[in-house]
């Protein structure tokens, strides 16, 4: 695959940061007083949640750009970003669920953040399904851009209304303010992990876009051969 110099540097940087992040998360950060070792899942849960939301923001931005410029380049970025977002959103839900089980004894709690993440995951899923059901490239780009934009705006409203819903139906506060009591070493580790996952996102995005270009090329040759 034709790799540019920039993407090589990005790849190496992500790789090094990943190793450092693993060291920080498992060895450097001290054991938490009440939760013990389990809390370390936080260093993967929070960054993947952050990237899941970031990725959807990128999808929304590129969808707007596509509708304005009508250049399929933007659609390629939007859909690649959504696919990575779906992956990271899945990781967020799984790690969150494991954490909840060990922490609160249940796999799932319907609190604002968890529920919003679940709905974000569902929106990603419907976006991906929609793309799968349209054959014409340009049509697919237009329709999925519209869903990408609406989905992103909706996630914000969903979060607001679920939070409100929860305040109307008081529940034992779970998971609230868990970052507030972090020791400096933990906070540093968390921030480093967030940074690393952001780098990971851009590395994955680059290779996904390259992959998409390659598959479009194969598709194109298929069609040309079919015509002859």
């Amino acid at each position: 695959m034709p790799d540019s110099k920039a993407s090589k540097i990005l790849f190496v940087l992500t790789f090094v940061c990943m190793i450092v992040a693993l060291y920080l998360a498992f060895l450097y950060a001290p054991v938490e007083a009440t939760q013990g070792e389990v809390y370390r899942i936080l260093f993967f849960h929070v960054p993947s949640a952050w990237v899941a939301f970031l990725a959807f923001g990128v999808t929304c931005f590129c969808s707007v750009a596509f509708l304005m410029k009508k250049d399929l380049k933007w659609d390629r970025i939007a859909s690649s970003s959504a696919e990575i977002g779906l992956l990271l959103c899945t990781i967020t839900l799984i790690t969150g669920s494991i954490w909840a089980k060990s922490e609160w004894g249940i796999w799932w709690a319907w609190d604002a953040r968890l529920t919003t993440t679940l709905i974000l995951w569902l929106i990603y899923l419907s976006y991906a399904m929609l793309r799968g059901y349209i054959d014409v490239e340009t049509k697919r780009a237009y329709l999925s851009s519209v869903v990408g934009i609406i989905g992103f705006i909706d996630v914000l409203i969903v979060y607001g209304s679920i939070r409100w819903w929860r305040t109307q139906h008081p529940q034992p506060v779970i998971g609230g303010g868990d970052e507030s009591g972090l020791a400096p070493a933990m906070l540093f580790t968390l921030l480093f992990c967030v940074g690393t996952f952001t780098l990971l996102f851009f590395t994955l995005l680059r290779s996904k876009i390259e992959l998409q270009k390659a598959s479009e090329e194969v598709d194109y040759f298929h069609k040309v051969l079919a015509q002859k």
């Binding site: 399929l72 014409v136 490239e137 340009t138 479009e216 090329e217 194109y220 069609k223 015509q227």
Partner: protein, 237 residues
Amino acid sequence: MQTNIPVFQAQKLTKQYGRLTALNGIDLVVNKGDFITIFGANGAGKTTFLKIAAMLMAPSDGTLLFNGKLIKEADNNARKLIGFIAHDTFQYHNLTARENLRFYGGMYDIRDLDKQINIRLEAVGLLKRGDDLVGGFSRGMKQRLSIARAFLHNPSILLLDEPYTGLDKNASEMLNSLLSSFNNSERAGIMTTHNLDQGYDIATHVAILHRGKIMYFNKTKNISKNDFSKTYSEIVG
């Protein structure tokens, strides 16, 4: 002859679906009184061309001019100049013929719409069936109603996309005679078809569209039907 502004003009029209090129630089000038039939095989780009001409889709590149005026974005005033007939009838089966016409006609500013509807229904021979549901119409009757719809707002250019599809010989002949009676020096038309037997006789000009390009263009009075069909099979193969 006075200076003549073409009713319709396409300049270097290009349409790409992703990497596939459907139209590759189409130039076409249509003057008042012209009736151009574009022949081409399936997938040659005929429907794409007509859809762009009717402003149903935007070209990837190139420009459209109506009455010498450049069309930038989809222009609702230019839409009033176009009458479009396709193999799809655009009709609601649960509405009567008259209701269908009133619905479409209501989108234009037409004075005395009901009177216009009667005139058009009369012209296509459907006046007596005007209050019957379209769902009970034959294919030929629906296509006649399509003609009435397309002429309702008195368009200056008529676009026809494979209008003969699904019509039997009688209905095709009726369509041809209707078209020639509506056609006059004030109006122009562009028709696409893949069928050489149809559409040649009423045309003033013929063109061949192949792989997104116009490969041949001539006046019908300069070439006989036989010679033209030879040229067609040479180009399309």
